[in-house]
Symmetry: C2
Subunit: 421 residues, 2 copies
């Protein structure tokens, strides 16, 4: 039996008919290597924006069911055109939408989760030597309601299909050349990683590396599907392979550095140090669907029996957060509330830091040497994050990138090969 | 139980978001009369042309399966937007594509015929007080392949739905105000008919009245569904009601006059007058999918044991027809073959002519008085067609329209009401 490769091309890669013909070439190239190929595509370029624009002209608040019906047409167009392009180049191909494949989701519109993927029809097409072109981003419920998967949906479709079909690999073609040690716009010496583990990728995605949506990464981790992020426009470049941490050949202590400017810090002062006080505050926030990222509680001031609670939320949630604090103010008995909008979260991520002490100390010393004050710290097994002043974020990222030997030339020495930048 | 009305709006009626909002008003107006309403819509304005253009950019001969997949997305957009527009105007509504409804067709792409329509889901939505917005033109096979119904497909969808759901009426909204006694562009005094029977409509459609596709009319006749053709832009105008011939209140001898310039005449001379000669000729044409319209065989010339066979085919089929005749020439033993491209078929149609003798004679005398030579004649129970020279077609239509009292004022006298022209 042949190996199955799932390829995913985003909206930019299929933005017009010329680009679709090029995608067909990349598909045929993969098939020529002796693989069975499934291609997942998004809607063409600005189609989704155009459809949303029309919906807004008609209704201020279009129902999510009808939005899903509307948006799902976008992939219907791109799968049919790509199948035609493949056939025109002599490659047998068939397009399938989510209903035809059976990409079963929960009955939630605009952000459904995949429950199950039927594989029998796809397999029978593959057995006939056909490339199967599948609509990404969409799903269907038991009673034939059309759903969409929300942000990063097509990536998730591709990875889930790869999992369900025990594919050898899922290739995510995109307009970047892979996953970088940090944002190349901030650090020109950022280097492309040859490999990264799912957990590192998850941490990097959460702190602002937009290459692959965390849901897609989690799905890949769940099914243990190797995912390659690579450039649509430079097919010879192998990009970055995302795999299980156990399968990685080399662990550097730090894999990547990222900064996230989307958060604001809230400090609630002099909160009564009673059991349950924090629970009241964070339950109230959770009820209103406000995601809290970092939480730091100071040591209690014994004499006053109070402490300070600091946490970060999305900047857009600040007004709502302050309203909620106002409502629970009497119950948590706080004094002042401070908001700091001008912060950045700078993080270092690396599965290799688990067994290596001193990484955190190196990070703090590096920031101190640069005269950067740390406002909050949080750590996980493979990540250390520091909140610093917004205008010092780039400097912090550059310093950490250099200290942890991620700059391009140094990575090249480690790998014995000069990576493309 | 409420009456069900099926409304159908074509591409021009839903060409942009403003027009879709207006369609929503027409739907709500029908529902306000106390009816359950199902709306069938086509793709928006030039969407289909745009999709075809992209397909042609990709492939000279895109497969019909992928074309169906591509084109079916057009109605997906319009049904979702119309459902949103209805909801925005306070009317509960739900969109359904062919898969969701279960508009089952044979497995033939680009011109499938409807086999069955499931009604349970539509009924349950209607029972909840919702308007059901259904995608026209498309169908689905048992194994979830997407099909399209070909020309006039949305009209056929609407009429078939009306039949399956025992609707009280199917309203076809279009950019004309109804069915006219003849083409108003040829005869300014053409009058709109209040009623016309299915069989008359079929005959008129076949001879060039493009208001409603014959397949839709046949479907209406089969299910005995009253169909009203009416203007999207003049909602107070009741248009033309197409009903069974038995239900019509008044039969004029002639209901309409039409001319058809699409045919050419072929005369095969001196064919051997043996049994089976005509069969050889017309079987050969049928095998190559060439539709023959009128066929006239002259009286056999006893002395020579030959006769002439004249028939008409679509002008575009002439070359192929001549090739086929060349192939069977020896078997039918003909001498010369003549082609006449400059002809027109002028027809009068009317269920009322069945019991009234002299209609044909009046037609022939009218043409003779105008100095118009008749080249071929064919008749059915409710139609008489004459082939005349192409450049005399308009004069023939005007003369017949006048003689059979179809000009606007005279019709007005008969009905006691002045129709809109």
């Amino acid at each position: 039996m042949k190996n199955i490769i799932v390829q995913k091309f985003g909206g930019t890669s299929v933005a017009d008919t010329e680009k679709i013909k090029n995608v067909a070439k990349a598909v045929i190239r993969e098939k020529a290597l002796g693989n069975d190929v499934i291609v997942v595509v998004s809607a063409m370029g600005h189609t989704t924006d155009y459809l949303i624009k029309m919906a807004k002209e008609i209704s201020d608040s279009p129902s999510s069911r009808e939005m899903d019906m509307l948006l799902s047409t976008g992939e219907g167009v791109s799968i049919a055109l790509l199948a035609m392009a493949l056939q025109a180049q002599g490659c047998p191909a068939v397009s399938m939408n989510a209903v035809q494949v059976g990409i079963m989701t929960e009955k939630v519109h605009s952000k459904a989760r995949i429950i199950d993927i039927k594989t029998d029809k796809i397999k029978s097409h593959l057995a006939k030597g056909e490339v199967v072109v599948v609509a990404g981003f969409q799903g269907v419920t038991d009673d034939l309601e059309i759903t969409t998967l929300g942000r990063g949906g097509s990536d998730t479709s591709a990875v889930a299909l790869a999992g369900a079909l025990h594919a050898k690999r899922c290739d995510i073609y995109t307009d970047v050349e892979g996953v970088y040690t940090t944002d190349p716009r901030t650090v020109p010496h950022a280097s492309r990683l040859d490999e990264i583990s799912y957990i590192e990728m998850l941490e990097l995605a959460r702190v602002g590396a937009n290459v692959l949506h965390p849901r897609a990464v989690e799905t890949a981790k769940q099914y243990n599907v190797p995912v390659r992020v690579r450039s649509t426009f430079k097919l010879d470049n192998l990009g970055t392979l995302i795999i299980g941490v156990d399968e990685m050949e080399l662990h550097r202590p730090v894999t990547g550095v990222a900064s996230d400017l989307s958060q604001a810090r809230v400090v609630v002062c002099d909160v009564k140090d009673n059991p349950g006080t924090a629970a009241i505050l964070f339950n109230s926030l959770a009820k209103e669907n406000i995601s809290v990222d970092m939480i730091i509680q100071s040591y209690a001031r014994k004499a006053l029996n109070t402490n300070d609670i600091a946490f970060t939320v999305e900047k857009g949630d600040i007004d709502k957060t302050l309203e909620i604090i106002q409502k629970v103010k009497d119950r948590i008995e706080c004094s002042n509330v401070f908001v700091d909008n001008k912060i950045a979260k700078v993080s270092i991520v690396g599965a290799g830091m688990i067994d290596r002490p001193g990484i955190a100390a190196t990070m703090f010393k590096t920031l101190a040497d640069l005269g950067i004050n740390i406002k909050m710290i949080s750590t996980s097994e493979i990540k250390i994050s520091c909140i610093v002043a917004e205008d010092q974020a780039d400097e912090a990222v550059k310093g950490l990138h250099r200290v942890f030997h991620l700059d391009c030339e140094e990575v090249a020495e480690v790998n014995g090969d000069l990576p493309d930048v």
